[in-house]
């Protein structure tokens, strides 16, 4: 609790004790009404002096109809009518509600900053021979900083000395350690786990990853959602409207009574009017909506998902079309051996070794993949360089341990007159024949990320109707990936400019309320990212371009995070809608009952403070997200 909150709490306790004490005392002691009034005014002013002051100042400044005014009029009115306990209690509960609200908001703000606990407090630099701690802001580019085990890397840079493992969980939400050695680029915000690292900074602190992320999260509540704007506008007209309504309720029925010759019954109608004033306070709505969004954004950032504004969280929840790039988003974008199919008499290992040996001297990317997959050492004596014959566009024929090994595509096999297997999967095929006899094939392809299929199915379970894949790759490759993942629309063989056109076409075809999200790696697809209703960039860690261009940034490149982001956004919006509906229904119901005299002041207090507390508690659920 802050000092301000503690002060209010003390005032609440003192005046609560006084009110209860007075109530009990006057139960037994019969005193003059005016003495009673003076006694109750003590706790009333203790708890309400600041509200009364604000209400008076507000009138002088032309801000007549605000909640301070509502409370001041309602309580002064109640006391004037002899309802001392009720008048004081309304003020007391209003302050308790305000205190609770400020405490809850402060707590979620702190929770979120703890989730985002990546801000480094200092950097270690050498001054002469001595290591000193300085403000990271004062460190210039090119300075050597020292990061000890357990410390955060304060500034982006390049390791010049030392090896260690870095924990990126504060940035990505995943505790997957990264290796760091001399020559590696490291980003700020990671925690050094084992060895001492000397790092030469490549950026000032203000441009480092950690500063950018913090700025992004802090500024996210500046971009307000429709729901928030709606509530602000609503409150602007609602409060004055209620005040005028209450005034009418206090004056009109007695006046009509007088005209038609009945007793005026002023106090009855004034009390009803005051009751409606207390009910009508818009606090529950005004606070709980931004709090829900703030919680949602905070919860997402703890999962390594940065959302740049409440509006984007809102759009995300309305996404019906999710368009994604294939390479780098759904697939790893790295080619690897994915299938080894030996013919009879060979094992997988033997086949792989033959191919790796034959390709030993080649610099072709495929050769590298083969050698990587084989992993063992190749004795150059087994594969004399003189025995290598390259057949352009077909492959290689090499002498390996005295045997003639032909290694290449189908055309090479045909040329040698060797019969071969036809793979049923797509990819780059490497067929191998030994001394004119087929030995099998090895398939090299881009591998699909392990969580990509889960992402597609979870998206569909969470309201996304169409998952669209765009790719520059051949139709056959694209179709097989789409099949494997359950993607329903595929557009293949696209040039980068075609992707924008395809997205525009989808946008023009879809309905106004159906939103389109695009997911890319943020490097080549900035135009598409900005054209879509919402642009999601993957692998934001270390890529400034992605962070700049996108509305939502996934810190690592796990596609399952897209589904997580979608779920968080839907949960947040669900909470927002629950709060709007709950608060409005209770308020309007109570207003109606209050106006016809079914509710007393105590119910009015509940419908104001109680509803607000429930709405705030509901809003804080947005912060916590479990898979």
């Amino acid at each position: 609790m802050t000092r301000k909150q503690k002060k209010v709490l003390i005032r609440v306790i003192i005046s609560a004790i006084l009110v209860v004490g007075l109530r009990i005392t006057f139960q037994f002691a019969d005193v003059n009404k005016y003495i009673e009034l003076v006694c109750y005014l003590v706790p009333y002013f203790i708890i309400g002096y600041d509200i009364l002051k604000k209400a008076v100042l507000g009138i002088f400044h032309g801000e007549v109809f605000d909640e301070n005014f509502l409370m001041a009029i309602a309580t002064v009115g109640a006391i004037a009518l002899g309802e001392y306990v009720e008048g004081t209690a309304v003020m007391l509960f209003y302050q308790i509600g305000e205190l609770f609200q400020s405490y809850a908001v402060g707590k979620s703000r702190r929770n979120i900053s703890e989730l985002m606990d990546i801000r480094p407090d200092y950097a270690n630099i050498y001054e002469g021979d001595e290591l000193v701690q300085v403000d990271p802001d004062d460190v210039e580019i090119g300075t050597v900083i020292v990061v000890k085990p357990g410390e955060k890397v304060p500034i982006d840079g390049e390791v010049i000395e030392g090896t260690s493992t870095l924990n990126t969980s504060a940035l990505t939400g995943e505790s997957l350690p990264r290796e760091a050695k001399a020559g590696d680029e490291v980003i700020s915000g990671c925690v050094n786990m084992s060895g001492v690292l000397k790092i030469k900074t490549t950026k000032p602190f203000g441009d480092s990853t950690v500063s950018k992320i913090l700025e992004l999260v802090e500024n996210s509540s500046m971009k307000k959602s429709h729901s928030e704007n709606f509530i602000t506008r609503f409150a602007k007209y609602y409060t004055p409207a209620v005040c005028i309504g209450a005034l009418a309720l206090a004056v009109l029925p007695p006046v009509i009574n007088i005209i038609i010759g009945n007793p005026a019954a002023w106090s009855k109608w004034v009390i009803r009017a005051l009751t409606t004033l207390v009910i009508s306070c818009p606090c529950a709505l005004v606070i709980s909506i931004p709090l829900s969004f703030f919680g949602g954004i905070g919860g997402a950032s703890a999962k390594g998902i940065l959302v740049k504004g409440s509006n984007y969280l809102e759009i995300l929840s309305q996404t019906k079309y999710l368009v994604c790039d294939k390479t780098g988003t759904l697939t790893k974008g790295v080619f690897q051996v994915t299938e080894i199919k030996p013919a009879e008499k060979y094992t997988e290992a033997e086949l792989l070794k033959l191919a790796a040996c034959a390709e030993n001297y080649s610099n072709h990317p495929i050769s590298k993949n083969l050698k990587e997959a084989y992993g063992g050492d190749i004795d150059p004596a087994d594969v004399p360089e003189s025995g290598i014959e390259e057949v352009a566009g077909h492959g290689i024929i090499a002498r390996v341990s005295g045997k003639e090994v032909a290694c290449g595509n189908i055309k090479l096999m045909k040329k040698l007159g060797v019969s071969y297997f036809t793979p049923d999967k797509t990819g780059t095929e490497v067929h191998v024949a030994v001394d004119g006899v087929y030995a099998g094939y090895i398939l090299i392809s881009d591998i699909v990320k392990p969580t990509a299929a889960k992402m597609v199915s979870e998206l569909k379970a969470n309201g996304v109707e169409h998952v669209v894949m765009l790719t520059g790759d051949a139709k056959k490759v694209a179709d097989s990936v789409a099949d494997e993942l359950g993607i329903d629309i595929v557009k293949s063989e696209l040039l980068p400019a075609d992707k924008v056109a395809e997205v525009e076409k989808l946008i023009s075809e879809k309905g106004e309320k159906e939103k389109l999200a695009f997911v890319g790696d943020g490097i080549n697809d900035a135009p598409v990212l900005s054209r879509a209703d919402i642009g999601i960039a993957m692998g934001g860690l270390g890529s400034d371009a992605a962070i700049e261009a996108a509305d939502v940034v996934l810190m690592d490149d796990d596609p399952a995070k897209i589904a997580t982001a979608m779920k968080i956004s839907r949960k947040t919006l669900r909470i927002v809608h629950q709060n709007i509906v709950f608060a409005l229904v209770v308020k309007f119901a109570c207003l109606g009952f209050g106006a016809i005299g079914f509710l007393n002041m105590w119910w009015a207090i509940f419908s104001d403070v109680g509803v607000m507390i429930l709405a705030v508690l509901n809003a804080t659920r947005a912060l916590k997200f479990k898979e």
């Binding site: 301000k4 002051k53 400044h61 609200q101 802090e218 500046m222 602000t232 409150a235 606090c283 606070i287």
Partner: protein
């Protein structure tokens, strides 16, 4: 566009500050984020920002006497 740290107690008050700031001459647009306790102000071209911000603070104090803007 400049950002300022602020201190304000209630969400409705923050909305009132935003309204008030937008009306100050020299201010093109303004946003107050209650949750972040921050205010961002876009100025008209060629105005003295420090002077405008003084007016902004005055305008905000009128609608919400408890508020603070750290200039």
């Amino acid at each position: 566009m400049k950002k300022y740290k602020i201190e304000v107690d209630c969400a409705n008050c923050a909305a009132k500050m935003e309204e008030a700031t937008k009306k100050v001459s020299g201010v093109k647009d303004a946003t107050v984020a209650f949750m972040a306790q921050k205010m961002s102000v876009e100025f008209e071209d060629g105005v003295d920002e420090a002077k405008v911000m003084k007016d902004v603070l005055k305008a905000c104090r009128k609608v919400e006497p408890d508020c603070e803007i750290y200039l």
